[in-house]
Symmetry: C2
DNA sequence: CTTGAAGCTATAGTGGCTAGAGGGATTATA
DNA sequence: TATAATCCCTCTAGCCACTATAGCTTCAAG
C-alpha cells in the first residue's frame, strides 16, 4: 500500500494533481488509513501511469476518460481508441504547422531590427503594421 | 467614431474580448455615447490591431502590455522589445520540438494497431506501457 | 413609433491544474 | 514515551485568456 506521496514519486504526478484526478473521477477514491489518509494499490498505480502517459502525449482528460472506459471492455472493437489517437495526431500536426508559421514570422521580426531606438524598432513596427507580414496569420 | 461592433468587425477581435482588454487595462476606457455606449477613434483601432497581431503571434497579454508601454517612448533603445520577441521565438521553437516528438510517438501508436478488439489494441497497450516509447517524453 | 439588432453590466464557467490556510496523522529519533 | 519533522487532510481561491449567460437599455431603420 502506497501513500499519496509515494504514488506521486513513482508516477511523477504531483500530489494535488492526483487528488484532482480523483475529484474528476479519473481514478476512484482509494482506501483510507485509520487516520483518513489515502492508501493506494498497484492497480491504482498502473491506472495513474496510464493517465500520466496520455497527458504527456497531450490527450485531454476527456480523451483519457474515454480510453479508460474502453480499456475496461476488452472484447469491444478498438476502432474508437484508434479514432481518438488519430484525431489527436491530426490536432498535433495542425499545431506544428501553425507554430512553424509563427516561428518564421517571429524570426523575421526579431532579427530584422537594426535600429537603436523604439522609434525605429522593427519589432514594434511589425506589430503595428500587419501588412509587413508575409503569411496571412 | 466606431461602435464596439464596428471595431470588432474591423479588427477581428470579438466584442466581449474588447471589453475584456479594457478591463485588463490594455486599452483605455473610450468615450461613451449619450446612452452610455462605447465609441472608439482610429487611434484605438490601431492599438487594438497591434494587440490582436501580438496575440496572433502567441505573445502573452503581459508581453503585449510591455511592448505597448515601450512603444510610447520612442527615444528609448529597443533592446527590451527585441528581447521579448527573441524570448518568445525561443519558446515557440521549444514547443515545435516537443510537438514533433509527440507527433512521432502518436503516429507510432495510431498506426501500429492491427488488432480488432480492445484487448489487442496497440493504442491502449502503448498508454499502459511506457516502456514501448522510443523517446523519453 | 415600433421593432429588431446591438449594446450594457455583472457573474459564472472553461481546462488542468497550482497555491495557500489551518489543521490532523505518521514516523524517526532522543 | 515525548517530541520534532514530515507528510497528509479539506476547503477555497487563483491562474490564463477568454466565452457564455441573463436581464436589461439604446440605437437605427422603416
Amino acid at each position: 500500500m502506497l501513500s499519496i506521496g509515494e504514488l506521486s514519486r513513482e508516477t511523477g504526478v504531483k500530489v494535488p494533481t492526483i487528488r484532482y484526478y480523483e475529484q474528476m473521477g479519473l481514478i476512484t477514491a482509494p482506501e483510507r488509513s485509520a487516520g483518513n489518509q489515502r492508501r493506494y494499490s498497484r492497480a491504482e498505480l498502473e491506472r495513474l501511469a496510464f493517465i500520466r502517459h496520455g497527458r504527456d502525449l497531450g490527450l485531454s482528460i476527456e480523451d483519457i476518460r474515454e480510453l479508460l472506459e474502453l480499456s475496461a471492455i476488452p472484447d469491444q472493437t478498438c476502432a474508437q481508441a484508434n479514432k481518438i489517437a488519430a484525431d489527436h495526431l491530426a490536432v498535433i500536426r495542425e499545431k506544428i504547422l501553425r507554430l512553424k508559421k509563427l516561428e518564421k514570422e517571429l524570426a523575421r521580426i526579431a532579427t530584422g531590427c537594426k535600429g537603436h531606438t523604439i522609434g525605429e524598432c522593427y519589432v514594434i513596427e511589425s506589430l503595428s503594421n500587419h501588412g509587413l507580414c508575409a503569411d496571412g496569420h
